[in-house]
Structures are given as C-alpha cells and as structure tokens.
C-alpha cells in the first residue's frame, strides 16, 4: 500500500505554481473559445468591475492597492472598448491573482508539529489533572474522542483513489477536529476551503495557511470568482489531492443535521473524474465520497448561531466574526468542558460512495444494491466515449447529495443534551399551545417539569432512537444510561459553559432556563419523527 508520506499533499508546494497556471489557463481558454457557451467576456468582466470597484473603494488589508489597480485597468479597457485579445490578457492577470490568493500551502515541518507536538500540548492544557498523574501525550485526548468507521477501508482507498470527505458542520472547531480525526485514522492530510475571515486570527491563520487550507473569499460573489474557485478545486482533485468539503456550506444555524446541501464545489470531484477518464482512460483514479458526522454534546457557538437563526437576518450571516470562536477564553472553557466528558466527542466516517451514490467494497469497486460490480465510468460514456455533460453531472451530484443526507442522519449520534432538549421542547410546545415559535420562546411564564416525569419521557425517546437506526443512534456515552442518568448528564453538560444553562434542577423539578438553547439542541433530532413523537407529553403532563 502506498505510504502515507507519498500522499500528494506533501508535494503540494512543488505543485502549487503549476496548479495556479493551469487554473488560469483553463479560465482564459473557457472564455476564448469561439464556441463558448459561457457569458460574453466583456459582460463577465463588467460584472467583476462593478462588484470589485465598490468593494475596493477604500482599500483595507488584506486587500492591496495592486488589487484595486488591476480592477481599474479592466474598467478602463472596457470603457475604451479594448480588443478581445487585450481583455483576455486582463482576464489572465486577474484570474491568476485570484488563484494565487485562493491557493494555500502545505509545510511538512508544520504538519509534523501539528500532528505530534500540538495534540500533546492541547491535551495537557485541557486536562491538567493528567499532568499530576503523569499522563502525557495523546492518550488523554484520545480517550475523550471516539472515532468510528471502517478506517482500514479508507486507508486502502486513499492509496489508490482520491477521497472527498464531506462532514457535517456545527462549529468553527470542526476543521481542526476533522484534521485530528484524519490524523488518528492514519489518513493523509487533505485540502479544504476555509472562509478568508478565518485567517484573521494569527494563531489559526498560521496553521491553516500551512496545512492545506485554501482561501474562499465570500465577499466575492460574482460568477468569475466562483468559476475560478471551482476550477481550482477541480485541478487539485485531478492532481490527486484528497479534499474536504463541508456540504452544508456554513455552520448549521439551527443545530439540525444538514438536509439541503450545497454541492457546487464537491461536484468538482465528478468533473475531475470525468476529465481524468478522458485523459487517462482506464488508468484514471477513482473518487470516493466519505460522509462524516461530527457529534458533540455541546457546540461552542450555539448561543450565537441559534440567535442568528431566529433573527433571520436576511440571508445567513455567513461572515459572523464576533461569535464565541473569536474569544479564546470561551474556546478554552468550551474545550475543557467537553474534554472532561468521557467519550464526549464522536467522529464518524460513514461508508464511502462513488460519485454516483453507489457503495464501494474494500478495494474501491463500485457495487449496486445486489452486490454486483459496476463500472462507474459507464455513467459518463456515450457510445463508448467519455463526455462532459453539465446537466447530467449536476443531476448525478444532486442525487449523491440525497444519499449523503441519508448517511448524515444514520451517522448522527445523540447525546444527553439532544435527548433531554427534545423532551423539554415538547413540554414547552404542550404548555404554550396555539402559539408560534417566537411566542413560545419569549413567553414570560416560568416553566418547570417534574424530574421523574422528564426521565420517563427521555426513556421513551431513547427507545424510539434505538428503534429507528436509519435516523441516527445513541452516543456511546449515553447508550447504557437510563432516563434519570441521561437527565443528570444533560444538566451537568448544560452548566458551566453557556452564558445561562439551557435547563437546571430546582429540587424535584427541572426548570427551562434558556429556551433558545433548548431549541438548538433539540433540533439535532428535527428529522427524527419517531423520537419527536415519543417526546410529546402524554395526556397533559409528561
């Protein structure tokens, strides 16, 4: 099997300039062809100018005066009706600049530090009691994090094919968590797109810029930038770089498991596969999508995210810069809280699929539901010839997305916080009937639930989860707990991190304190009909 160290990512810095040039030339070529089906070049550049001149009216870092000059040159060229040749050259210059900004880097020394020294330091920092007992190294961290999935299969597939890992997304801590999971699983490092705003923090920026992250500037919403980004993604995949895409597009604001995916960038894996087949024929590498669920009892940014969800500020506030992730104190408190919980994190690699949704065997062969081998190349052939077909491939990717949603649900682990929140929220709905969500959340009445009744309801939810494995499973941490223990576990988790606990005990009753947080954690079960049905209080009480 190919050694981990021969993974293409370790050669990225040597490939970088070639990748940038390839991306640039593909963009220019796409717009230079006489039979092009994309937008006319002058209209494309005009849209760029309108957007960028507005954005660069006042130049602030990380933007530069040079960025502004390049855009102004395009504007002047358009005004004087420059020739197509001149416009293509300006396009080349601009595309190269964007590609250079997007392309990250990979430093082998930084990777060594990140994978060897840092987890030990992190573990030490977060669990100082282990310093006293003499435990050093990854052991303390490893005990807190459960990694599931057929790791051996993924290692084999990573040696011969290209992995496209698609995780659920709740927190800005997900990227390092995924990185940690890959490292623990003995899987190679991967490229991934990260919002440019995440590079503003010096500490995270240092590591992200050197560990395979490429920058996605969400301020640049015009078609040319998106085209360059997709082309970059496709080119690095063709080079064999394993990649990570968060198909939810952004962190789940509501706390629910993603059900509507944005697969534009992930879809470049299919384009890369088709292009490989066209150029390499049967020698083309195969591509494998690996859905991954990240399951935690608490989410660092829960309060900000649910508030944003509820406010519904137009579109999502993609660039939330002032949430808990930007406050190191909150990050440390959160990490300490989660790390004191045995098996407090479950990271699950689901069964891999080919770009057409078929499962694959241990050697990467695609299989239909009856176990018959399929040649995936035939999905993109016509009369024996491999062809690109945008409409066809977009539909394949959409269908793959439906399978990924099913995999996310099946791969979700429910902790005590989710289960107890589901019971509490159902109680809230029953106690304040006939009102909309906002009225329920803001109602001034103090709401309490009898603790024993709550425990019984939690037992019912637990049974419903066990009875519907396709919709998720109990976290290992709570699998052997009874209802009362689950309630206690949840209340313990709720205290000591969030500004206010979601719920707290008051004698023999449980008081609903922060209803928005209850809604957030309950939403992890939003797709689980049987569990929500079981959560409903019976006959007026719980």
């Amino acid at each position: 099997m190919q050694a981990l160290s021969s993974s293409p990512m370790f050669r990225f810095d040597g490939l970088r300039s070639g990748i940038i040039e390839e991306v640039t030339e593909r963009i220019v070529d796409a717009h230079a062809r006489a039979e092009r089906t994309v937008e006319p070049l002058d209209r494309l550049l005009n849209e760029l100018v309108i957007h960028e001149q507005k954005r660069l009216r006042h130049v602030h870092p990380p933007d530069t005066i040079e960025d502004k000059r390049r855009v102004d040159d395009i504007a002047r060229a358009l005004q004087r009706r420059a020739t197509e040749g001149e416009l293509l050259e300006l396009l080349r210059r601009q595309a190269r600049a964007y590609a250079q900004d997007i392309a990250g880097s990979f430093s082998n020394p930084t990777y060594k530090v990140a994978t060897s020294v840092l987890p030990s330091l992190l573990s030490l920092l977060l669990t100082p009691q282990h310093l006293r007992s003499g435990e050093f190294g990854l052991g303390a961290l490893d005990a807190r994090v459960r990694i599931d999935g057929d790791i051996e299969q993924l290692r084999r597939l990573s040696a011969t094919g290209v992995l496209v890992v698609v995780p659920t997304h709740l927190s800005n801590l997900d990227s390092p968590l995924v990185g940690y999971a890959l490292m623990r699983a003995g899987l190679p490092p991967m490229a991934y797109g990260a919002g440019k705003n995440l590079f503003s923090s010096p500490l995270t920026s240092f590591f992200m810029a050197r560990l395979g992250a490429y920058k996605v500037d969400r301020r640049l919403g015009f078609p040319l930038y998106k085209e360059i980004l997709k082309t970059f993604s496709q080119v690095i995949l063709e080079e064999g770089l394993h990649s990570i895409f968060f198909p939810g597009g952004t962190r789940s604001r509501s706390g629910a498991v993603e059900s509507k995916l944005k697969l534009g960038l992930a879809g470049t894996a299919l384009s890369a596969y088709v292009e490989q087949l066209r150029t390499l024929g049967p020698g083309a590498r195969r591509f494998y999508f690996v859905p991954m669920t990240l399951n935690t009892p608490l989410v660092l940014e829960a309060e900000t995210l649910i508030e944003d969800y509820l406010k519904e500020i137009g579109k999502n506030r993609y660039i939330i810069e002032d949430d808990e992730f930007s406050r190191m104190g909150r990050v440390a408190t959160y990490a300490r809280k989660v790390m004191t919980m045995d098996q407090g994190l479950e990271l699950r690699f689901c069964a891999p699929r080919d770009p057409f949704g078929n499962h694959v065997d241990a050697d990467g062969r695609s299989l239909d539901s009856h176990g018959r081998e399929i040649d995936p190349a035939r999905y993109v052939m016509r009369d024996g010839v491999v062809t690109h077909h945008a409409g066809r491939d977009a539909e394949y990717t959409r269908e793959l997305g439906r399978h990924i949603v099913d995999d996310f649900r099946e791969g979700t682990s429910y902790f005590s916080t989710h289960i107890v929140s589901a019971a509490l929220f159902a109680y809230l709905e029953a106690e304040i009937p006939g009102s909309d969500l906002y009225q329920r959340l803001r109602h001034p009445r103090r709401l309490v639930v009898d603790a024993a009744a709550l425990a019984r309801r939690v037992d019912a939810i637990k049974a419903a989860i066990i009875g519907a494995p396709a919709l998720g499973r109990l976290a290992q941490r709570v699998a052997d707990m009874d209802g009362q223990e689950i309630v206690d576990d949840a209340l313990s988790a709720f205290s000591g991190y969030h500004t206010h606990p979601a719920a707290q005990r008051s004698g023999s009753v449980i008081e609903l304190v922060d209803r928005e947080l209850i809604l957030y954690y309950r939403n992890r079960l939003a797709h689980h009909g049987p569990a929500l049905e079981a959560a409903r209080p019976v006959g007026g009480g719980t």
Partner: protein, 293 residues
C-alpha cells in the same frame, strides 16, 4: 435513430411496440430473460411497461442486464409500499438516469395511429431529450418535463378520479357533475403534487388532466369499470381492486391527517377501502363548505 428497448408487459407496451415499428423506429421488445438480455445489449434507451404487481420480479430480472449507461423510463401506474417506481428501478439496477412516461396512451389510439400524446419526465436532461426524440413520431407526440415526482403521482392517482367520473356516469348525474368532479380532481391533484415537492401545474398536463379526460370516457379502462361496479353493484376484478386499494392506502400515508384538501381522492379511497356508498360519498362531497376555487 438508435434502437429502443421496450419491456412490453401490458397491452400499452405491446401497442407502443407496434406503433413505433410501423412509424419506422427500430425496437427490441420482450419480457423473458433472453429478450431482456438482448434488449440491454442493443439499446441505450429501455422503456419498462408492466403491471405494478409484476414489477419487482421483472426489475430483478432486468437489473441483471442493465448497465450504468442505460437510460430507463417506465409507464407503471399505481402507488405501492415499495415507494416510487423510479427509485425502485435505481435500487434494483445500476441505472441512475431514470424517468417516467405518462399520459393518455390508449391502446386503441396507438394501434389506429390517431394523434396521441404523452409526457416523459425526469430530472436527467438526457432522459427527457432522448426519450422524447426516440418516441415522437407523426402519430405520437412526447413532451418533456423535469417534474418526475409530479408526473408519477399524477399517473398513479388519476385512476381514483376516473373511478369518481365512472360513478357519476353510472348514476346518470349528468355533465355538470362530471365537470365538477374533473375540475376539482385536477385542482386536488395539483395540491398533492405540491405536497410532494413537485410542480402543481403538472396536474393540468398530460399525466393528469390529459389522462383523466381520456380514461374517464373509456369503458374498457379497468378503473372506469371499478367505478361503475361500485355505483351499480357488480363484480370487480380482484387484481384491479387490490391494486387500487394499495394506491388508496398509500395516499393516506402521503397525505397524513389530510394535510391538504383532496376530498375527491380521499372520498374514492374510502369507497374502495371502507365500502362507503357512492350516494353517501356524493352527499358528503356536496356538503363541504364552499371556498375559493
């Protein structure tokens, strides 16, 4: 023009084979294993025409020979517990490019060569483009749709509306009553399509209104015969009744608690499954509060 494979499991499939052959298309047909094997070897487009009750074993045979490069469409009516037929084809084979062909495909019209039409629906553009091109002749016009779920639902539920029209005819209630049933059924069908995420306008097309207009005046249509038998008393073909009862049960699951108003459809379902008398059904329908059209 490339070869077209047709699994001719019902008289409609046989009539299509005859019509297309007469109109100069090269067709490979059959239902047995050797025919299916040959069909899949020679044709890129495969049309599956079968009774719902025989579908699963047929798909399992066909699945042995279907390859990822095949484009598959079906004409199967009726709702079953296994779910949508398109998804069933994907489960039982390696195919991903699947569609549905529906509309007023009457055996008599196909054989006579009188003008007729159908709609081919799929999310995959190649399926709609290639099937529409392969099936369209001087006598048969095949339109395209991206609303596969809507067309499948219309094709399956229209038979319940046909039962209602047949009851109206059998009870001699007259043309206005028939018009009422047809217009309200189409409106309700649109709501049910929207409930499943489809385009409500699909109900006004060939798979909904088009099919209803034709089958509701064709006394040889099984669902029409069921309607007459329910109204006048009489024998009902057990397999047809069984199939329609499954559709009725599935309707209750698709529209739990009657989330959208579909009085005609649920009314006919009640007549089929609970034995509600047609006169009672009509009285009930005529007593519903009148709202906006």
């Amino acid at each position: 023009m490339s070869v077209l494979g047709i699994v001719n499991g019902t008289p409609v499939g046989e009539a299509l084979v005859a019509r297309l052959g007469t109109d100069g298309r090269k067709v490979v047909s059959g239902v047995d294993a050797p025919s299916l094997k040959r069909m899949c070897a020679e044709a890129r487009l495969i049309l599956v025409d079968a009774h719902r009750a025989e579908l699963l074993p047929l798909l399992r045979r066909l699945g042995e020979y279907l390859e990822p490069n095949h484009l598959v469409a079906h004409t199967v009516h009726g709702l079953g517990q296994e779910g949508r037929v398109s998804l069933l084809i994907e489960t039982e084979s390696a195919c991903r490019r699947v569609g549905v062909l529906a509309g007023p495909l009457l055996v008599s019209a196909l054989r006579a060569g009188t003008p007729t039409a159908a709609v081919i629906a799929s999310h995959h553009p190649e399926v709609t483009e290639e099937f529409a091109s392969a099936l369209s002749t001087k006598h048969l016009r095949v339109y395209r749709s991206r609303d596969a779920a809507g067309v499948e639902l219309c094709a399956s539920l229209t038979e319940l509306a046909v039962v209602a029209c047949a009851m109206v005819d059998a009870l001699a209630l007259g043309a206005p009553a028939r018009a009422l049933v047809i217009t309200r059924a189409v409106r309700e069908l649109g709501r049910l399509v929207a409930l499943l995420g489809g385009d409500p306008l699909t109900a006004n097309g060939l798979a909904g209104l088009g099919d209803l207009l034709v089958r509701s005046v064709d006394p040889t249509t099984p669902s029409y015969q069921v309607g007459v038998a329910l109204a006048k008393g009489g024998d009902i073909d057990p397999s047809t009744l069984d199939s329609m009862k499954r559709t009725a049960a599935r309707l209750d699951q698709l529209n739990p608690g009657k989330k959208v108003s579909a009085h005609v459809f649920h009314g006919v379902a009640a007549a089929l499954t609970d034995g509600v008398e047609p006169a009672t059904l009509i009285e009930k329908l005529m007593s519903i509060r009148v709202l906006d059209e």
